[in-house]
């Protein structure tokens, strides 16, 4: 356009380089925390630095972390899904029913994933289509989904999954690398690429920061939200396959309290609970930090509830300390 009266001054792209920014980031802080805890553990327990033990320790977080990746996207977009634990229970129950009808392993897996997707779609329709607030919708579906499991199962349990089904939760790919760890790693990469390298991911950030303006920018906000709920349902379905395979049985109380642990991982990973910011590498690191803390304390036979105090303190501390410091500085 030739006419512009002044060419306008040139605005630089960036003032701080991405590398400098990364160094000061939350992820860097988490990485330091993770390494510190790793060293502390190695120092405190002679059993810690054993590959098999470390491998066993990953079971403490792999399933929750798989869900946490999808949840991270959901929370970045300004929504939340508190029904994930219940979705796991319902998906597991559905697999149990399918097994009762003699379904082979591939069908079982398909049923688990399909149930997860269906639950995600149900949440997604209520939130995206009918515009209901996700926190209350999923508090409702959390009771509904698990309630259905209770109706189906009552005081019974499904057991006797086929031997080949055990592979997902108990199998090893090579040496100490478990199948679950591989699924965890693949989903970490997929979700990191999805959030940070695709235009879909960009729209997730835009929606999280200002959903109205995103809609006014030609983004199909409701569709993105729906997809995010679907993804969360799908990941819950995958987690259900892993957990059911690992436990070898289904009870309606399976995965109780998962939702809060998943949210804890996501928040510790630096995702703003208010939406709009956060990264997948942060979530991966947070999963490791939590896994290391619980495993390290477990080796010292610290009761679980004392660990959860530590996790609570860690959650508040890691978020509060930087704020406190910057507050004291001013």
């Amino acid at each position: 356009m030739s006419h512009s009266p002044q060419p306008g001054r040139r605005i630089p792209d960036r003032l701080t380089s991405p590398a400098a920014r990364a160094l000061k980031s939350w992820e860097a802080l988490l990485a330091v925390v993770a390494v510190t805890i790793f060293l502390l553990n190695a120092w405190a327990s002679p059993y810690f630095l054993d590959p098999w033990n470390l491998s066993d320790a990953t079971f403490n977080f792999t399933e929750k972390a798989m869900i946490a990746f999808a949840m991270a996207l959901l929370i970045v977009s300004g929504e939340i899904d508190l029904s994930v634990g219940a979705i796991v229970a319902l998906a597991s129950t559905a697999m149990g029913v399918a097994m009762g009808m003699g379904a082979p392993t591939p069908v079982l897996v398909a049923v688990g994933l399909a149930t997860g997707l269906a639950c995600g779609a149900f949440n997604g329709v209520l939130v995206a289509r009918f515009g209901l607030p996700s926190i209350v919708v999923t508090i409702g579906t959390m009771s509904l989904f698990r309630g259905i499991s209770y109706i189906v199962l009552g005081d019974r349990a499904f057991t006797g999954y086929p031997a080949s089904f055990a592979w997902f939760g108990q199998g090893y790919v090579v040496w100490v690398i478990t199948v679950e760890l591989v699924i965890f790693a693949i989903s970490a990469i997929v979700f990191a690429v999805l959030l940070h390298r695709t235009s879909f991911g960009r729209t997730v950030y835009a929606i999280g920061n200002n959903a109205t303006a995103a809609r006014f920018s030609g983004i199909r906000v409701d569709r993105v939200r729906f997809i995010l709920f679907l993804l969360t349902g799908l990941m819950s379905g995958i987690a259900a396959v892993c957990l059911t395979s690992r436990l070898g049985s289904t009870r309606p109380s399976i995965a109780a309290g998962f939702e809060l642990e998943v949210v804890t991982i996501v928040v510790l990973g630096g995702v703003s609970i208010l939406g709009g910011s956060g990264t997948i590498p942060g979530v991966v690191l947070a999963a490791f930090v939590l896994g290391l803390v619980t495993f390290g304390l477990g080796l010292l036979n610290v009761p679980g509830i004392v660990m959860s105090i530590m996790v609570g303190l860690l959650l508040i501390g890691v978020i509060a300390v930087p704020r406190l410091i910057s507050k004291l500085r001013t």
Binding site: L126, F130, G131, L132, P133, I135, V136, V137, I139, G140, T141, M142, S143, L144, F145, R146, G147, I148, Y150, I151, L153, G154, D155, P252, L260, V263, T264, V267, S272, I273, L274, P303, I305, V306, S308, I309, V311, G312, L313, L315, I316, I319, A320, R323, L324, K327
Partner: protein, 322 residues
């Protein structure tokens, strides 16, 4: 006004219908004595819902109320074991509950950490503290003094003291919400935090006050709970925080803050209380209970969303019609 009023009226209607349906299968359920029992049984939920309502009004959420309740209840039981007199115990639980609420409030106010994160953390910390206090041991009925167990059960005018405390709290919170500057500040801060600053209301301090109120009510309820069920251990009222939030949601307290009434919160709690109490009575398998309350929550929010009136109207013709 009319829209909001009718929301409570409709919820009241639903509760009456529910009672009628139960009565058709089991008339004894609506006998005054039994209704009084249901109300008493729902009192802890009502007390916590009143506090949670204040918190939700200010755009926050308190997931730590049940843990706060359990910790204060345990402390009350321990104090009773040491022979501390009842008035001191009562004062302590209220102050301690308020103090625990104040910790939440201070983190939200002072450091601006979102309430869901703060209370997710303090929820595990408070509950874990009970374990640290007792190493997980239970305190059972036989270890509690009779005076300690008697207070909530004492019947005055047909209702136990526990129920009267709930009635008093409903009245107190209702006056607080509608007739005091603090009560209006709860609504203002949740309705438009930005505007609240411009009107000289401190958002953080108001949220702090809401957490303190919720904490104090939780502390008091902690004592009542422990004394009524005559047992104290780490896990009491586990997961109760979600029932409390559900009661608020069913009662039409807007989760985004700024809207909702005391009547709504109380009826939301009663709705859940009636369902919980009625299921075993009418002979529906207890396994259905969870699914039913989930469906009720979904129905309630769908209903509340539908009740939102039309926004602005430009056409004169349309204005006349509505």
């Amino acid at each position: 006004m009319s829209i909001l009023k009718s929301r409570e009226v409709v919820l009241g209607g639903v509760i009456v219908l529910l009672l009628a349906a139960i009565a058709s299968r089991f008339p004894g359920f609506v006998a005054p004595a039994n209704l009084a029992r249901v109300f008493t049984d729902t009192s802890p939920l009502i007390l916590l819902a009143l506090g949670q309502m204040a918190v939700i009004l200010t755009k926050c959420i308190d997931l730590s109320v049940a843990a706060n309740l359990a910790l204060c209840g345990m402390v009350a039981a321990l104090m009773d074991g040491m022979g501390v007199p009842m008035p001191v115990i009562l004062a302590t639980v209220v102050v301690m509950g308020a103090g625990l609420g104040a910790i939440n409030g201070a983190l939200v106010w002072g450091l601006g950490i979102p309430s869901i994160v703060v209370t997710l953390g303090t929820m595990t910390i408070y509950r874990g503290s009970i374990f640290l206090l007792t190493e997980g041991a239970w305190i059972n009925a036989h270890q509690m003094s009779d005076a300690f167990k008697a207070v909530p059960r004492q019947v005055i005018g047909g209702l136990p003291v526990m129920a009267w405390i709930a009635v008093a709290a409903i009245a107190g919170v209702a006056v607080l919400m509608t007739r005091t500057p603090l009560g209006r500040a709860f609504y203002a801060v949740g309705g438009n935090p930005h505007a609240a600053v411009y009107t000289g209301i401190s958002v953080g301090r108001t949220q702090f006050a809401a957490f303190v109120l919720a904490g104090a009510l939780a502390g008091l309820t902690g004592y009542l709970w422990v004394a009524r069920y005559a047992v104290a251990y780490v896990d009491i009222a586990g997961g109760f925080e979600l029932d409390v939030v559900a009661a608020c949601v069913i009662g039409g307290i807007a989760i985004a803050g700024g809207a909702g009434t005391v009547a709504g919160a109380v009826m939301g709690a009663l709705f859940l209380g009636i369902i919980k109490n009625a299921l075993p009575v009418v002979g529906i398998s207890p396994f259905w209970q969870m699914a039913i309350s989930g469906a009720a929550i979904l129905a309630a929010i769908a209903f509340n969303a539908r009740r939102q009136g039309p926004g602005r109207i430009i056409l004169k013709r349309a204005e006349v019609r509505t």
